[in-house]
């Protein structure tokens, strides 16, 4: 359904964040440089079952893919994510949005991820590869204490088998 996203055309055409594309000051270099560094590092050594890179020729819009880790109800699923970097990137967290639907108590129906390191606990020392790792561990162990979808978390506690069943069904339906 969202399979077409990785080839989403020229980055500038993303109208929602046009103002952010090339911040006009020369401080472009600090965030741009850092993102470029992360890009090369990721191309050399990506975390397992993860991939990420710029969508088009805009450095500040990335697309990432995650494979559902084996042993979880998300096994076999391929999840696409949109990553948007703010212009003062290392100091403000990137915005991560699931483009593939997923049954998970930490992911809003709209795709927004509620991960503490992406909001309050962000640190400039974190990188996209670390974020991807965190997302991966979110697959295996959902953060059920501060769920963004309480119903799913509730089901996870009450009836894990049912939860897993639904999640597997969603994986089959949306993530393949």
């Amino acid at each position: 359904m969202y399979g077409g996203t990785p080839s989403g055309g020229i980055g500038i055409s993303g109208s929602s964040s046009g103002g952010r594309a090339w911040p006009s000051t020369t401080s472009v270099s600090s965030s741009g440089k850092r993102i470029q560094k992360e890009m090369t590092e990721l191309s050399i050594e990506a975390p397992p079952d993860c991939a990420a890179g710029p969508k088009g020729d805009n450095l500040y819009h990335w697309v990432a893919t995650l494979f559902g880790p084996p042993g979880t109800p998300y096994e076999g699923g391929i999840y696409f994510l949109d990553i948007t970097f703010p212009s003062d990137y290392p100091f403000k967290p990137p915005k991560v949005v699931f483009k593939t639907r997923i049954y998970h108590c930490n992911v809003e129906p709209s795709g927004n991820v509620s991960l503490d390191i992406l909001t309050d606990n962000w640190s400039p020392a974190l990188t996209i590869s670390k974020v991807l790792l965190a997302l991966r561990s979110m697959f295996t162990t959902p953060e059920t204490y501060k769920p963004v979808v309480p119903g799913i978390a509730h089901l996870y506690f009450e009836d894990k088998a049912k939860h897993d069943e639904i999640a597997t069904e969603w994986t089959l339906r949306f993530a393949r």
Partner: protein
């Protein structure tokens, strides 16, 4: 320190009370710096005296002490006082532990020759250092300096090989592959010494109370924008405003990755528009100041005495010093020349930036028309433009190196 000095050279005080406090101190710093015990241990560990000396020099090359260094290099123009303690010092120098370096038999040579050769070594070494620093692999003034005596030459070559490790690591870091370098852990070092915020080699590293180091600027803006917590371990940073540079770490980084630091300095200069012209030059001159003062101190350390025949020796020494400076000068001159002839890389970068911005503005303007075809053709044109620009830059850079 002062006590030691006065104990070691009581004669000095009698002979020349004024100069004593300055010049002989320089000369004897070696002896007072390293206790005989330490030196014997160092000899057992296989460190030669030169290495220790250079290490001590490195430690002292903090930016804050620049004025002091200048003063010291000025001391060179003083005439060294005729002291009686020369022999004493020489005896100390020749103690078996202190010169374990060379196995070549120079025993039949007299003292002065030995001193000379040591001086020459120091010279050739410092020249080499300069060379490596400036990556001017093409010129080898070392040969001219040491071609006079075969022994000396072979000795210096041996030394050069020893020093090679340091030199190679400097070279190796410029090439990111660095597989050829004699310093296999350079990649790990690069990783270890890079700032977690900008992911580059730490520039003026500042260390938090919890022990993590970042670029000073990065740490400061992290404290401003993300709260006063360590980016690595989230511990509170008491006063993120008054970051101080960890000088030991900074010096180490400057020694290990001179190229990156230079590039970073140049980039910083590009960012600040007004200072764009001045600061690379300033950096260069400051750099040469440091190196020249280092050279002069090596000289001072190696020639503490002034014998009866010292006058002409000093002359020849100053001649050689001039030649060293001359060896330094051409590279700088060449830089200036190339800057004059071709537009510098800074300008090129600025040009590229401007082009990019214009591009963006153009695409922004045309977006309203929402003409898909036109946009794709624009993208093509843009790609062409970019390729041309990068090619032009490459050619220029290559041309700049060639001349």
């Amino acid at each position: 320190m002062v006590n030691e000095d006065s104990i070691k050279s009581p004669l000095n005080t009698k002979n020349d009370p004024i100069k004593q406090s300055e010049e002989p101190k320089n000369g004897e710093r070696v002896d007072s710096l390293f206790s005989p015990n330490f030196r014997s241990v160092a000899a057992m560990a296989g460190w030669d005296e030169e290495a220790l000396l250079i290490a001590s020099l490195v430690v002292e090359d903090t930016p804050d002490r620049l004025p002091k260094q200048k003063k010291r290099s000025d001391l060179l123009h003083f005439k060294t006082p005729p002291t009686n303690s020369r022999r004493k010092r020489r005896v100390q120098k020749r103690s078996p532990e202190s010169i374990p370096v060379t196995v070549l038999d120079l025993d039949d040579e007299d003292d002065t020759a030995k001193q000379e050769s040591e001086k020459k070594e120091a010279e050739s070494k410092s020249i080499e250092n300069l060379d490596k620093k400036r990556a001017e692999a093409s010129e080898e003034p070392r040969c001219s300096a040491s071609s006079s005596d075969k022994n000396i030459e072979s000795k210096s070559i041996q030394k050069a090989e020893k020093k090679g490790a340091a030199g190679l690591e400097e070279q190796g870091c410029s090439v990111s592959a660095s597989s050829s370098s004699a310093f296999p852990c350079i990649d790990r070092l690069r990783e270890e010494l890079s700032c977690a915020i900008c992911l580059e080699i730490c520039f003026e590293p500042s260390t938090t109370p919890c022990g993590h180091s970042f670029c000073k600027k990065c740490l400061r803006s992290a404290a401003d924008k993300c709260g006063k917590k360590c980016p690595k371990c989230r511990q509170l940073i008491s006063n993120g405003r008054s970051c101080t540079v960890n000088t030991v770490l900074w010096n180490t980084i400057q020694l290990l990755f001179p190229k990156e630091i230079e590039a970073r300095k140049a980039a910083g200069a590009l960012n600040s528009r007004e200072a764009r012209r001045k600061s690379p030059l300033k950096a260069a001159t400051a750099h040469s100041n440091i190196t020249s003062s280092r050279i002069s101190r090596v000289f001072a350390l190696n020639s503490p005495e002034s014998g009866p025949s010292s006058q002409e020796r000093r002359n020849s020494r100053s001649m050689r010093r001039q030649s060293v400076q001359a060896a330094v000068m051409p590279s700088r001159n060449r830089d200036n020349n190339s800057r004059r002839e071709l537009p510098s890389q800074d300008e090129d970068a600025a040009l590229a930036l401007r082009m990019q911005r214009e591009e963006f503005m153009e695409s922004f303007r045309t977006r309203s028309s929402a003409d898909e075809q036109y946009r794709s053709s624009l993208a093509l044109a843009r790609a062409n433009l970019r390729a041309m620009a990068s090619r032009a830059i490459n050619i220029r850079v290559r041309g700049g190196r060639g001349t």
